[in-house]
């Protein structure tokens, strides 16, 4: 049985779009605590972000009439609010003599729009629910409704001299993103380096990269071996998956994902009633304390005006095969499904960053061995739970430049990124590799190669009124130029996500942003880059209180 949609893979692009969040970060109230000791400095900042969202597009019957996606789609009608959310991010740095100290950060949230935990749905599909209790999953209740919070960074840092070589290190919960990717994380050397918060990336414009690249307990170091050579590395002490848009929420993909107790509707049989394929335990890495590490060598050779990075990483992936079937004799349907995370991938990569013709260019080339590929879900004849895996090549080329001088704006930045994915070989479970016969086929299938283009334009209008700067944003994320990516995330031909908006920056302290976001795809496939009928308006206030 084939699931007709790639489960919300578009979000893999939307979140990394906010890798650029640094350029429009939340405003905050800072406190530099006077310690009386000139060697000791304490920074304490707290960001507040209040966001309201309205649906602007009607429910598309292809999604709204589908028993596996109607509960997400009906969570708000056009014109209704789907978000009334408060986010708080508080951060404390304690720095001793520049080089030593600790950092703790935490985030909290509450969204009033999700106070009612009962799932909505298509009235014509009453009774059909991807969740047996008819309520939002525990994940959704915690991360959408709240009020709740979580610790983000919690680490100590310091510096040692190994002979002549200085080494800086961090120990504890923190995040690192290597490489030069600006939008596309699926094809980057940073794939699965940190769990990505796709949920916040999709629904919370203005979320900081500090919230979107979720920290993990790890040990990391950087050392300048010589003026031109630097070595860096990390070792993860725990593994966590990407956080997805939950079923039953406004931006949810399939209703039955991603918590561990969703079920897939598979038909109604007179006499038996509604039949569901139940979910089994999630299959994730058994030994989370090992198996995820990386090493990076950075070179700035005399003959080259930029820098070159060489990367080796070993990882367990953080994006699952969302639906892998196994035979279940105890079930009427004969099947059970599992979310399965692929383990033991080797990544070899090289990247560079240099300026040329006034543009800051970045490029990456990586090879992944044993990486997860688009899978049909099986079940496998041998009873195994994994999907297809194989070897792939990935290429990225991006540029950051100043917008050309035009009277339309005062100044601005443009970012463009091209990606190319190439499937070299399917090495395991080839019988469940979801190969497309046509790139416009149902989502979740892969072609030999695929490419995409992303573009972000950010013009600024400075001091349009005293104290007020305006920044516009036009984003096209992951437009599939050709082919469907053979890996579970990544572009699909002619599918893309996009957004347009403007933010007012007042006195360099407060921000008010208005954004329209949507996703688009070719018929009959809907939603390779996010469900196409969730056109929405968000209004965000970022302020100091």
């Amino acid at each position: 049985m084939q699931i007709k949609r790639k489960a919300a893979t578009g979000s893999a692009f939307l979140a990394p779009v906010v890798l650029l969040g640094a350029l429009s970060a939340p405003s905050a109230q800072a406190l530099t605590v006077e310690t009386g000791n000139p060697d000791l400095r304490i920074n304490w900042t707290t960001d507040f972000r209040v966001g309201f969202g309205w649906r602007a597009e009607n429910i598309n019957s292809a999604l709204g009439d589908d028993p596996t996606s109607h509960q997400s789609d009906y969570s708000a009608h056009s014109g209704e609010m789907w978000k009334r959310r408060l986010d708080v991010l508080t951060e404390v740095d304690l720095i001793y003599k520049e080089d030593y100290g600790l950092r703790v950060s935490a985030t909290g949230w509450y969204d009033n729009a999700y106070d009612d935990h009962d799932l909505k749905g298509n009235p014509n599909l009453a009774g059909i629910s991807s969740r047996a209790d008819g309520k939002l999953s525990r994940q959704a209740q915690r991360y959408y409704n709240g009020p709740s919070g979580e610790l983000l960074d919690a680490f100590v840092f310091g510096r040692v001299e190994l002979g002549e070589i200085p080494v800086t290190f961090k120990a504890g919960q923190h995040s690192l993103i290597w490489g030069v990717s600006q939008v596309n994380a699926s094809d980057s050397v940073s794939w699965s380096q940190q769990p990505a918060n796709f949920q916040k990336g999709a629904e919370s414009p203005g979320a900081s990269p500090k919230e979107l690249a979720m920290p993990l307990p790890q040990l990391s170091f950087q050392s300048q071996l010589s003026d031109r050579v630097s070595l860096a590395g990390y070792y993860h002490l725990d593994w966590k998956p990407n956080r997805q848009s939950e079923g039953g929420t406004f931006l949810g993909g399939p209703d039955f994902l991603y918590d561990d107790d969703g079920r897939i509707y598979s038909g109604t049989v007179p006499g038996l009633g509604d039949l569901y394929i139940e979910q089994g335990d999630i299959v994730d890495p058994k030994h989370k304390q090992r198996g995820n590490y990386g090493l990076q060598l950075s070179l700035t050779p005399e003959w080259y005006d930029g820098s070159i990075g060489l990367v080796y990483r070993r990882m367990d992936e953080m994006q699952p095969w969302p639906v892998n079937f196994e035979v279940d004799p105890t079930s009427i349907t004969g099947l059970r499904f599992r979310q399965v995370y692929n383990r033991g991938v080797d990544l070899f990569g090289v990247f560079t960053n240099f300026n040329w013709q006034d543009i800051s260019w970045g490029s990456e080339l990586s090879y992944r061995r044993g990486t997860a590929l688009d899978s049909t879900g099986g079940p496998l004849a041998n009873g195994g739970l994994d999907g297809a895996t194989g070897n792939t090549f990935h290429f990225l080329l991006n540029g950051q430049a100043q917008l050309p001088n035009l009277p339309l704006y005062d100044t601005g930045i443009a970012v463009a990124e091209f990606s190319y994915t190439y499937l070299d070989k399917v090495t395991h479970n080839e019988e469940v590799f979801a190969k497309c016969s046509d790139a416009r086929d149902g989502a979740g299938c892969g072609t030999r190669d695929a490419s995409s283009l992303s573009l972000i334009l950010m013009p600024s209008w400075l001091q349009v009124l005293p104290g007020i700067d305006l920044e516009g944003n036009l984003t096209l994320a992951g437009y599939g130029l050709h082919g469907n990516s053979a890996i579970p995330t990544g572009p699909a031909e002619r599918a893309f996500a996009w957004s347009v908006g403007v933010t007012a920056d007042i006195d360099m302290r407060y921000k008010i942003g208005l954004l329209y976001s949507d996703a688009s795809d070719v018929d009959p496939r809907i939603g390779a880059m996010g469900s196409t009928d969730r056109g929405r308006v968000t209004l965000t206030f970022q302020t100091t209180l």
Partner: protein
């Protein structure tokens, strides 16, 4: 290495002009430090009317902390000799820059308080020696956009072109490596004081720290933001090159929070408006001049006796921002002007080049080679920018650290102060950091946020 036809033509031209400059150079070396010129090329004597004193290198400033920091105001008790406003400025026509006149005409309550001039700027012996040697060994391109051969001191103590003067400004001696914590402000068109940046900075100059060997870079700056709140944790690293054609352009790297990685910034320079300052000034107006000289022709107009901002210890280091910056202009009661001799350089946009300005005019102090006044004119020839350099002299190390500036955006009616020291640390001398602390990778590795 490819040699383009253009370079070859230049080469021929250069060999001729090189011969000429060599002759001048030998002459120069003889004159510097003699009875007419100071060792860095200023005129020793005072002015005919006595408003400018003779050079006073043996001046000793008051006691200051050993490592520097906030400097005491050596002239705190002085009172202005006279005051200029829009009403009486005609009396002083010849001694005021166009930019200063524009401010006097714009606001009836704007004043220029003129004090006794003090020519106290001097430099260490080795800077003066290197300056003399540079006369015979420095080479520059036709348009002056690149520099080669200069080491450790001022490259053009006797300038022939406008570009020579700007290189002297670029390579003014800022002293041994220093840290400074300072804040920048935008005073918007409604008079609101807005914090644009509060940062801790490390600056050094390989050019000055290694006066015996040719260097690629003449300034390295690592800045870590401690304000405004949303910028806490941001870091930038800047390297400035002497010879763009050989060693590449100036570079700026930005640190990305949460990802803890760095990226080269695209070449924002020239007339890109500073977005963190409401666009009140362009990238090339930072410190009144920063960046590459290749888009303008720099003409050396000559020398003038002019009333310029000078010795502004009080404004920068001993006044709070609220005291120093009023709704429309910096507090004239706290701003100190003196009469000095300055070099006047007029830069006009080269045909075919693009820039929002058609002309820039720089007024450069003869003793310190710091830009003390600056004007920018738009494409229609109208004055759009008037700036004042508030440099301070560090008499402990005999140097002039990087120039704070107050710049007026006459179009939008706003102004900025870029390096206010009160509440910060002033310029604190430190041991030079090892190169390993100043690479982009180590900026990433030591990133906290």
């Amino acid at each position: 290495m490819k040699i383009s036809r253009q370079t070859m033509t230049l080469g021929l031209g250069l060999s001729l002009s090189f011969a000429v400059s060599l002759a001048v150079a030998n002459d120069t070396a003889a004159q510097l430090g003699g009875d007419k010129l100071t060792p860095v090329g200023a005129e020793r004597a005072g002015s005919a009317d006595g408003s400018i004193p003779a050079w006073a290198p043996d001046w000793k400033g008051p006691q200051m902390p050993e490592k520097g920091g906030i400097y005491p105001d050596p002239f705190a008790n002085e009172k202005p000799l006279f005051s200029i406003t829009g009403k009486n400025m005609d009396q002083y026509q010849g001694k005021l820059s166009e930019g200063t006149k524009a401010l006097l005409q714009r606001w009836p309550d704007y004043k220029v308080e003129v004090y006794q001039s003090h020519r106290v700027v001097d430099f260490p012996g080795w800077v003066k020696d290197a300056t003399a040697k540079n006369a015979t060994r420095v080479k520059s391109t036709e348009d002056g956009s690149s520099l080669e051969g200069a080491m450790g001191g001022y490259p053009y103590p006797i300038p022939q072109t406008g570009a020579d003067v700007l290189w002297n400004h670029n390579l003014r001696y800022y002293g041994p490596a220093y840290r400074s914590k300072f804040a920048g402000y935008l005073i918007d068109s409604s008079g609101n004081l807005i914090l644009t940046h509060d940062l801790e900075n490390y600056t050094d100059s390989p050019y000055h720290d290694n006066p015996e060997e040719p260097q690629r870079h003449f300034q390295r700056r690592l800045s870590a933001y401690v304000g405004p709140a949303r910028n806490v944790g941001d870091k930038t690293l800047t390297y400035m090159t002497l010879n763009f054609k050989k060693d590449g352009d100036n570079k700026l790297w930005n640190y990305a929070q949460g990802q803890r990685r760095v990226r080269l910034a695209p070449d924002f320079g020239y007339d890109s408006p500073m977005t963190n300052a409401g666009g009140a000034y362009f990238f090339d107006e930072l410190g009144m001049w920063e960046g590459q000289l290749d888009r303008f022709n720099f003409k050396l107009v000559g020398k003038k006796e002019l009333i310029v901002p000078y010795n502004n210890y009080k404004l920068l280091m001993h006044s709070t921002p609220q005291e120093a910056y009023g709704k429309q202009f910096a507090n004239p009661d706290l701003t100190r002007w003196e009469t000095h001799r300055v070099w006047v350089v007029e830069a006009t946009l080269k045909p075919g080049q693009r820039h929002a300005q058609s002309k820039k005019v720089f007024y450069v102090d003869e003793d310190s080679w710091s830009i003390v006044l600056y004007e920018g004119y738009d494409q229609a020839g109208k004055l759009m920018r008037s700036a004042q350099g508030m440099f301070t002299y560090d008499w402990n190390t005999k140097s002039v650290p990087n120039t704070p500036m107050v710049i007026y955006d006459l179009v939008k009616g706003q102004y900025c102060s870029t390096m206010h020291m009160t509440g910060g640390s002033g310029f604190v001398r430190v041991d030079r950091w090892p190169n390993s602390r100043l690479t982009p990778e180590s900026m990433a590795g030591s990133g906290i946020r």
